[in-house]
């Protein structure tokens, strides 16, 4: 929700980045304030997933220019775990399976790392169990999933719900959801979208990375940005997403000759 009392959470200026010498981001600018939901859309290969990984600190990408300020600090100088403890959360497009480590132990380890950073008490196994069970309803998750190994043998939808469960537990200030809607059937999409809506607060912000407009039927963005060739080429409100759905990404290329030149 756009509000006059909001404070800046993320400020990205002229960000350029590459992987193995290949430029992926070519001067990206984005401002996110508290309470807001942003959506970044774009065709495959436009750099939107790369952008989300760079914000979370993926070691394979090299930032070659620009800056990212998160809550007044230089985000790019922080280790991935430090970013997480300071409230940056990335819901993965392809969550990792960890056999032999129970979901509940994993969630508690992550939760306690965040609590410790905030100077808040850590929870033992018993107290955490109680705490996590309350959160399960947000994503309509069966408690049996807590005892199973992290993501092992989970369906695509279950993995995505597990990501949103982690978001509910870690209470991030900036949540980046990378293609959280991909591979979900309509029921799972509704469940995940309801979870996201219930976690959107006045003091946090959500950045949705998505290829399709359909998630935005359930989670209403305040801003929609379109990425093309490593830059945000146009921004608007939720009607932009509908227009994109109608006209396709070629329409953006036609609007912005500079973008098509770089292709």
């Amino acid at each position: 929700m756009i509000s006059e009392n909001s404070s800046p959470i993320l400020s990205v200026r002229d960000l350029t980045a590459e992987i193995d010498g290949t430029p992926i981001l070519r001067g990206l600018n984005l401002e996110i304030r508290s309470g807001e939901i942003h959506a970044i859309m774009g065709p495959n290969g436009s750099g939107k997933s790369t952008f989300s990984k760079i914000l979370a600190g993926h070691p394979d990408y090299t930032v070659t220019g620009g800056q990212v300020i998160y809550l007044g600090e230089n985000l790019l100088e922080m280790e991935p775990e430090e970013r997480a403890r300071k409230g940056v959360f990335l819901a993965f497009q392809y969550p990792i399976e960890i056999p032999g480590v129970s979901n509940v132990d994993f969630l508690r380890t992550a939760y306690n790392a965040r609590q410790q950073h905030r100077g808040l008490p850590q929870l033992d196994a018993l107290d955490f169990d109680e705490f996590v069970r309350e959160k399960l309803s947000i994503v309509k998750m069966d408690p049996a999933f807590l005892e199973r190994s992290v993501n092992e043998g989970f369906s695509g939808g279950e993995k995505k719900r597990n990501e949103i469960l982690q978001m509910a537990i870690l209470e991030p200030i900036l949540a980046i959801l990378d293609e959280t809607d991909s591979g979900l059937d309509i029921d799972a999409l509704r469940t995940v979208a309801n979870g996201i809506n219930s976690l959107s607060k006045a003091d946090n912000a959500i950045l949705l990375i998505t290829h399709y407009q359909r998630l935005l039927d359930y989670v209403t963005p305040d801003y929609v940005h379109v990425m093309e060739a490593g830059r945000i080429v146009t921004s608007g409100d939720k009607t932009l997403a509908l227009e994109l759905e109608e006209r396709g990404y070629d329409w953006i290329r036609d609007q912005d000759p500079a973008a098509s030149l770089t292709l």
């Binding site: 979370a56 600190g57 993926h58 070691p59 394979d60 280790e79 991935p80 775990e81 970013r83 997480a84 403890r85 959360f89 990335l90 993965f92 969550p95 990792i96 960890i98 056999p99 032999g100 480590v101 132990d105 994993f106 380890t109 992550a110 790392a113 965040r114 950073h117 190994s149 982690q166 870690l170």
Partner: protein, 431 residues
């Protein structure tokens, strides 16, 4: 042919030195020992020129002057042993110190009837002599063990016996700083028809010296007998260990082994499994966990002699530092062993650039209607996986540990020891 024209066999000095120390005991086993001593005089210590030992150089072992381990059970107190007794086996633990049975440190009260017969004088000598050395192949180390036959852990599980608490055989070696010692545990386990047992074979070292444990365990499973055999090699970093597990399986028997090794400067585990009855099943899971400059070598030979047998073998190595792990596994399917279903897999995780693994899975199939697979992989921790955990606020070192644990989990699953993961130093992500 005159032998004095040949070069002396390698390791003769080492063997002669030990042979000279072996006692000559006047008991029903003296001819067995004498026979072994005579054989030993003709044998040498294998070198890396021999195919079966090409990845493991024994010269560091030969550099030490080993004396026979003494009976020290009275100088080891219960409090020193206590941390190594698994809670599940509190009333079913037999303790051996330097190869000698220590009744005052053992507690077998939870076993409803005496399964275990030590020392030798209590066993049925004619039965025992008939069994010993019929299961294990007679290589130099097994022969050395027989030549020094002392307190054999002799276990006869009666027909139809149902599994109780896990029986722990706790083998402690206790070497002083001043004197490297040779310890030679021996176990004969005989499961009669339809019986079931869970056995924990556990090697621990006390003291700061250098023990060389040369262990032999021989197992016979009669028809439809089930054994769950857990082997834990957790001696200190100065120890040497060469161990053999020889198993013979009759019809419908199940042999399930979970062997974990994370101790010793050098260890070698020889497995000799033979299915002599049809529809037997063998399930072998192994984990080698090494760091520093440790070396460990697992050499297994699984023989399907008869039709309708099945086997599964999964061996994993996790290697850090400049450690070196070896896995060589042979699965032999004899011509008669039609409709065998065998699968073997070796997976390795290297945690440092200097860590090394040599792997050689091997299938030899002489039957024409079988289903057999084998394979080996070597990998490192994936950046993507570490990043996932870091992105949840988990520090990189802990993330690596968690993923290492995840790699091992498959081998550890099903071991009925609740506190096991706490004892695996590199593998406890929630410590």
């Amino acid at each position: 042919m005159s032998t004095n024209l040949q070069k002396p066999l390698p390791g003769r000095l080492f063997l002669d030195h030990i042979l000279a120390q072996l006692p000559d005991l006047p008991d029903p086993y003296s001819s067995l020992r004498a026979q072994a001593r005579a054989q030993l005089a003709e044998l040498g210590i294998p070198t890396t020129r021999e195919e079966d030992w090409k990845y493991s150089d024994l010269s560091p072992l030969l550099a030490h002057d080993f004396r026979l381990g003494r009976e020290l059970s009275t100088s080891v107190c219960a409090a020193e042993v206590e941390p190594y007794v698994w809670p599940e086996s509190r009333g079913s633990c037999a303790v051996f110190v330097n190869g000698y049975f220590a009744p005052q440190l053992s507690n077998l009260s939870a076993l409803p009837q005496p399964l275990l017969l030590v020392p030798l004088s209590q066993a049925d000598a004619s039965w025992l002599t008939a069994q010993l050395q019929t299961l294990a192949s007679e290589d130099v180390f097994t022969t050395l063990n027989t030549a020094h036959l002392g307190d054999v852990a002799c276990i006869r599980v009666p027909k139809g016996w149902q599994d109780g608490p896990p029986l722990q055989l706790l083998y402690l070696s206790f070497a002083s700083e001043a004197q490297p010692i040779l310890v030679q545990p021996r176990c004969l386990l005989f499961l009669e028809a339809h019986s079931r047992l869970t056995l924990i074979e556990d090697y621990v070292s006390l003291g700061s010296g250098i023990p060389f444990t040369n262990a032999v365990t021989e197992i016979h499973l009669a028809d439809n007998a089930h054994l769950h055999h857990i082997i834990l090699q957790r001696q200190g970093s100065t120890a040497f260990q060469i161990g053999k597990t020889a198993v013979r399986q009759s019809r419908d028997s199940h042999y399930r082994q979970q062997a974990l090794q994370w101790g010793c400067q050098f260890s070698r585990h020889n497995l000799e499994i033979t299915q002599i009855g049809s529809q037997a099943h063998t399930d072998l899971k192994g984990l080698t966990l090494l760091g520093g400059s440790q070396q460990s070598d697992t050499y297994s030979r699984l023989v399907h002699q008869v039709p309708h047998g099945s086997s599964r073998q999964l061996h994993k190595c996790i290697v850090d530092g400049s450690a070196h792990a070896v896995f060589r596994g042979r699965v032999l399917v004899c011509q008669a062993a039609q409709l065998t279903d065998a699968a073997q897999s070796n997976r390795n995780l290297l945690l440092s650039p200097k860590a090394r693994v040599d792997t050689q899975p091997q299938l030899e199939i002489f039957a024409d209607n079988v289903k057999c697979t084998h394979g080996a992989t070597v990998s490192q921790l994936e950046t993507e996986e570490i990043f996932y955990l870091q992105s949840r606020g988990i520090p990189q070192a802990q993330a690596r540990q968690l993923l290492t644990y995840a790699f091992a989990a498959e081998v550890l699953a099903g071991i009925p020891l609740a506190t096991l993961s706490q004892k695996l130093p590199q593998l406890n992500p929630f410590a």
